[in-house]
Amino acid sequence: MTEVNLSNVIKDYGKTRAVHGIDLGIEDGEFVVLVGPSGCGKSTTLRMIAGLEDISGGEIAIGGRVVNDLPPRERNISMVFQNYALYPHMTVRENLGFSLKIAKADQTAITKAVDEAAGILGLRDLMDRKPAELSGGQRQRVAMGRAIVRSPDVFLFDEPLSNLDAKLRTQMRVEIKKLHQKVGNTIVYVTHDQVEAMTLADRIVLMRDGHIVQVGTPLELFNTPVNTFAATFIGSPPMNLIDGVVSGSNTINLAGGLSVPVPSRVRGLVRDGQKVCFGFRADNLMPVGHSVEEEGEKHELELTISLTEPLGTETLLFTDVAGNEVQAKMLNPRPVRPGETMKFQLMLDKCHVFDAASSEAIRG
């Protein structure tokens, strides 16, 4: 069993606290993605798990064993770095076999493990090349190969796809997912890209300013964000948020003169005069006649289009509500001119209401 447990883990740099006592349990074989904006403490957390940063407080356990003060080599982990960190003076074969050579494994075992990893990652033709002779994607694969050769308990990935171009990133994302399905080890993966987090993770850990904001499956984070930060960080395009004030018990008057009914889920949880943030995703605001026919609570709105972004199977429509850019999605698109006014259907039961003061979701 190689679960990873973080209890009240703290990291201080001088007087600055980078990680504020986080608690996180990662199960055996789970693919957990730490995601958040720059400086949120995700890489620091990963480096603390790796043993590359000392922890200032709390406890880290890998496979039930507290590793707080153990050096990286004693933790049986592998790490893939953002800049690959391949050994430039060694060939691909030597890079792959380095950890086993250090562990004084016998040559037959090294050759077998290296060949196996090379086979999994399609590196067989590159074995005698030096890192400088490889493309970005190939270097990334060698870095992954180096990680799997030693059969670690836990794989750590520190923004491994950040340096690749968009196409290669998508390709490598699939390879990483395949690799996880093949080897089944516990993976802790750090990224600032929410798409990577959504597509790869069994569970996402969303971080901000050294705190964990929300932990859950990608769909949990997407469908039930705990606050406005989670709502805007996860999902592309980000959730539309419009300020509003509750009027009576059934209506929210939005900025810009629009008003919408309070979704039935949160009816009774808001009070008259409460300042709120009304949130909905582009998928839940669609032009009438170009939407998904779905049962549920709906509300019609009339909005003027300011910009369109045709994506082929769908078109993103941009409208302006009291200075807030609101995005809607149009299925089976037809050409739309900026300035055109269209009738939209808002899926009320999929909308979110956040308390404006605390930014927390109001949920029954």
Partner: protein, 287 residues
């Protein structure tokens, strides 16, 4: 069309100016060396001839005399060579070991007063060696290490360490810290990570530092002339003085010994030049 012609002509003229400037610079650098080599093979009368003899004759007389007996203009070349070699090799090795450790520490670790130490080392390097010769002479004489290999080695190590630290610090800084982190995760101790990963990657820098340290020791005259006096410890640059008498200078002999001095330096530079080619780190991390 005319404008194109004007720019083309300007480019040609600039290229020509560059070429001439480079030629003059190279001539200034190379001609003294060439003068030494040529004169070591010319009879003394030709060296001193006025007007100069433009079609030189060839003789090995100076080399023969140099290796000959004391009365025939000979000097203890082998002793000087041995002294130079011992002092340069040992002082370079020690300076590199200390300097590399220091450079690594400056590049990788944070410690209080780091910037101050670094500036202090550089300032120490700025003091001219000859200014130190008198105090060193007095201290060495008191301690009893004057006119010994050990004394000269000590002085050269002190002279070379700051420069070596400065040079290797720059090279280690270029190596991403992720390389040693990756090595540590792969099972290395900090020491193994250094020797197996960082040192091989930085070896071009270390080789450059070694060459500079070696050449500094090999060619140093000011300190050596004060701190050595017997055949048992005099180095080759000091040995050159053997060719000067009260009223005459044996230019031919001096040039011959100078050529012998240049050869090991050339050979060493040639041997390690492939390590000097930087760029070994490219490719290991995203470029």
């Amino acid at each position: 069309m005319d404008r194109n012609q004007t720019y083309r002509n300007r480019k040609r003229a600039l290229n020509a100016v560059h070429f001439v400037a480079l030629f003059i610079t190279m001539a200034i650098i190379c001609i003294p060396g060439l003068w030494i080599v040529l004169n070591s093979f010319r009879p003394t009368v030709e060296i001193m001839a006025k007007p100069p003899v433009w079609t030189p004759s060839f003789t090995l007389e100076h080399y023969r005399n140099m290796f000959g007996g004391a009365g025939e203009g000979g000097v203890p070349v082998f002793s000087y060579f041995r002294n130079s070699l011992i002092v340069s090799v040992v002082s370079t090795t020690i300076a590199i070991l200390i300097g590399m450790s220091g450079g690594y520490a400056f590049a990788r670790y944070r410690f209080p007063g780091k910037a101050g130490y670094f500036v202090g080392l550089m300032l120490f390097r700025a003091v001219p060696g000859v200014a130190l010769s008198l105090p060193l002479f007095i201290v060495f004489a008191r301690v009893g290490i004057i006119d010994t290999h050990f004394g000269l080695i000590l002085a050269y190590v002190a002279m070379n360490v700051p420069f070596t630290i400065w040079l290797t610090d720059g090279f280690f800084r270029q190596i991403p810290k992720e390389l040693h982190e990756a090595a540590e995760i792969d099972g290395c101790t900090r020491w193994q990570a250094f020797w197996r990963v960082e040192f091989p990657v930085a070896r071009s820098g270390v080789a450059s530092a070694a060459i500079f340290a070696f050449l500094t020791s090999w060619n140093e005259f000011a300190l050596a002339s004060q701190l050595t006096r017997s055949v048992g410890s005099k180095t080759m640059p000091v040995g050159l003085l053997d060719f000067t008498a009260e009223f005459t200078i044996n230019w031919g002999g001096m040039c011959a010994l100078a050529v012998l001095m240049i050869i090991p330096a050339l050979v060493l530079t040639f041997l390690v030049q492939k390590h000097l080619i930087a760029g070994l780190t490219f490719g290991g991390v995203k470029g």
